[in-house]
Subunit: 281 residues, 4 copies
């Protein structure tokens, strides 16, 4: 009498009302085209830290690769097609790792945490593709002369401040090339660790596996790029300040900043839907 | 070198920064006591609808039980201990069902959808205990004389309006008794259907099972109760209005309202952490 | 051809659409009855400071009277009739003064500044009755056991934190008596200094006068009262942090806290519309 | 002992903490330079209406001039220097009028009402320069292909929807020329009617006069311009929906739309501080 989950169609809770409409499946169950949208403005700041501190943040099968450089990236999105033209802002923290599983090897940045200021992409991102997304308020940048200030807060507690300054335009000829899709037989892309607890006492996790977002599928074209200087400061929080996220913020606040590694601002059009996201074993 | 997931400890994404702090595990990995908090103000409105319409919303193993009465309940929570004393508001839709699995039988209201105005309990509720929680703005009630008005919106589109009026105080001697924990050998409690998609094309779901929140564990004491009349109206939405939830709201807007079945307002202290939530088979 | 301002009727900009509807004039041009609404929850914290510091904040004709005790009061209002049943929160700073004008003498607390989290009462309060209201985010209190925490922010910069603890219920027999309306021939009430600049270079102010909110017209009845301990901390702000209010917050942050003078929590029903507010000369 | 208002310096309530810092006077009492900021994105939609309906909205001394065309303009501002680099959004309604006073004659658009989503510029605009500013939520535009959707709400009640479509870029050679500063001896600029009620029963208004914002002082340079089609719909509101603004919205909702008169989108850099705003007599 009731409904059944149709095979080959994407659902999320609540499943009772039919298939979802989200980034990877629109209202007619078709994917979106990511050529003309979204529009993105991306701010990054990087710094060199202590390798051991990053190593301690690596999930099973992962190890820090190369220089222990942490990058904080904040992307301000508009004209997002799957949100019918609305936008939202994100702020993520990543560092370079390799993954060695029983079957797969991969390398790229590990997306350690991604704050977003809208619940809908947090849910689709966590459950469909294993992004470690959590909620924060991420206001529009404050721009004074050649300084740009970004921040993020949780229910009024501002836990990170970013400043970018002295940006210099990069000529299009010097834009970075498209990312490689593999190197030395190792798949390249953004890496994630999907973990969904099981329900019920003493249950095993419903999901507990590494995930690769392979390079090579994004249709984003850079429309402008600047490079300059930047700094980032995470503010230590008590449990009372951020009862669900204090452990995350405090770990980031404790990272040594050994050397600033520059900042950037870029704008782009187009993107991808991460439908090639795949489980690693 | 990296970290490992400790057995017997609760985690959620991002797992890299250690165990979570949430409703069922505090900052010292201990549970909270739910005797003196939270404080809840609960508004309900019920109506008789068409059984076939509800039947169509039943997931595998579920069937409508008894009268097809839909109840909308909005709970406004304060002094929530796991949020270090903050609060949030929720609005849920439920109707009575039975569940018959290979092994388990259970009965109670199916929580078809639960809107909440804070991302943190949405994430813990979906992933840890299979609640079909999604995001909405749920403002404080508007109270004019003997009328109370509630509503919920998604990014400015108001999709439901509730009015409650002519409330009459119920004497404590007439408060409802505690819910039964079983009847005729069937476990009783709120029912849910946990569904987490797998990651990767053609993957099977990471979770796809019925969940029971068994009666008998809540420490909530009713401190006041009123009964009266009420009405609820869901507003049909286009994909453009609510690109991620229009199918949910439209299904609810299409439910026949055959007869009003009253409204209530209650206040209570205490609650439960749903740690007895269990998977049904 | 156009409209004219009707005498005896209240208007505010924009005047083009007819008389205003606000706290002192409803949609039928009639006043509201303030017996059964609003409902108020009021938190106060007081401290002894340096008299000279307060004296420097006194406008022409005003002087500090008696002990230089500063009181911070935050009122959380619901069921506000002129807002058709909605609510809002305020946070004010006051200290005792006398006013001696050419004609009038008055005494009572000077409302030095009043933050409110809704623009509508800010506009009516400033323009109609000379309250020094400005905008802030004022969230619901955070309550953990016997501690209550209040705060206020401006676009994410938290400029004040208040903590109240160890509240003990006051029996109704010990509730404070209604305020006196005069003493020694001096009118008593809350005092304000209305100032509206003129438009045009080198213009004189449109308004520049003291205002009295006379005691004796409120219909508020205290429904519960507690007294306890409290502390308040204003956080110094740079122009970049609070470009329109930094001078206010910094003056308050610089006040010496010589001695704590207690805190209170009270609830009440009813109020007044301040229509007896009058200009002092 | 107390403070005095310094002549030649701008103040607003609360005056007790020293001169204001705002659009026309920065933290060092100096004006801001409006060459490199703010950045503005402006959307306009116009329609022909009934002259008598507009005539009824004209304050004393004003009359509709020429075609009764109503223009709704929404400006989304960023990098606002007096807000230390923050931004805000506004939505105004205007129509062409002439003003004939005892001494002055002027012509230009009357700014009938201007909604803004931030209290600080509402206060400075109303009190310093007589703009009829009131509060609304004004979200970022929703952009889907060649359609842009704008809206405004008051505490969740959406009172206006604007759609703009089929925009075609205008070549810089065809940008409109700078506005004339006078014609036939009549001063040209935006017109306003400043009205501040007096405090106290039976008092005369503190301000009640026409105001001219003369053309010729803006440093805004158009950086891009498109023209296309557009529509606007105000939604009638009950007192319960918008207790402080229903009369404004309903008057606008009742305006006949006889003919669409096009829409535009433009971006610009720079502006003015309206310090030449002057009282007309």
């Amino acid at each position: 009498m009731g409904y059944h989950i149709e095979p080959g169609v994407m659902y999320m809770m609540p499943t009772h009302f039919g298939p979802l409409s989200g980034p990877r499946q629109g209202p007619d169950l078709k994917p979106f085209n990511h050529v003309a949208s979204p529009k993105s403005t991306t701010y990054t700041v990087s710094f060199l830290t202590d390798a051991d501190q990053l190593e301690a943040l690596c999930p099973p099968g992962f190890a820090v690769a190369g220089e222990p450089v942490v990058t904080i990236a904040s992307v301000h999105l508009t004209e997002v097609e799957w949100l019918a033209g609305r936008g939202y802002n994100v702020l993520g923290v990543m560092f370079p790792v390799t993954y060695s599983g029983e079957r797969d090897r991969a390398a790229g940045p590990l997306l350690a945490v991604l704050w977003e200021n809208l619940a809908d992409p947090i849910l689709t991102g966590r459950e469909q593709i294993g992004f470690a997304k959590i909620y924060a308020e991420i206001p529009a940048p404050i721009i004074r002369g050649n300084e740009t200030h970004l921040s993020a807060s949780w229910l009024g507690f501002r836990f990170v401040d970013i400043a970018i300054r002295n940006l210099i335009a990069v000529p299009p000829a010097n834009y970075p090339p498209p990312p490689e899709v593999a190197r030395d037989g190792i798949a390249l892309g953004m890496l994630h660790y999907k973990y969904i607890p099981g329900t019920g006492q003493d249950s095993t996790p419903d999901a507990d596996y590494a995930v690769l977002q392979p390079n090579g599928y994004s249709q984003a074209r850079t429309t402008a790029l600047w490079r300059g200087e930047g700094s980032v400061q995470f503010h230590a929080a008590s449990w009372e300040d951020m009862p669900t996220q204090y452990h995350i913020v405090n770990a980031l606040a404790s990272l040594q900043i050994k050397q600033a590694r520059g900042a950037s601002l870029s704008t782009s059009i187009g993107g991808e839907d991460f439908s090639r996201q795949r489980r690693l074993r």
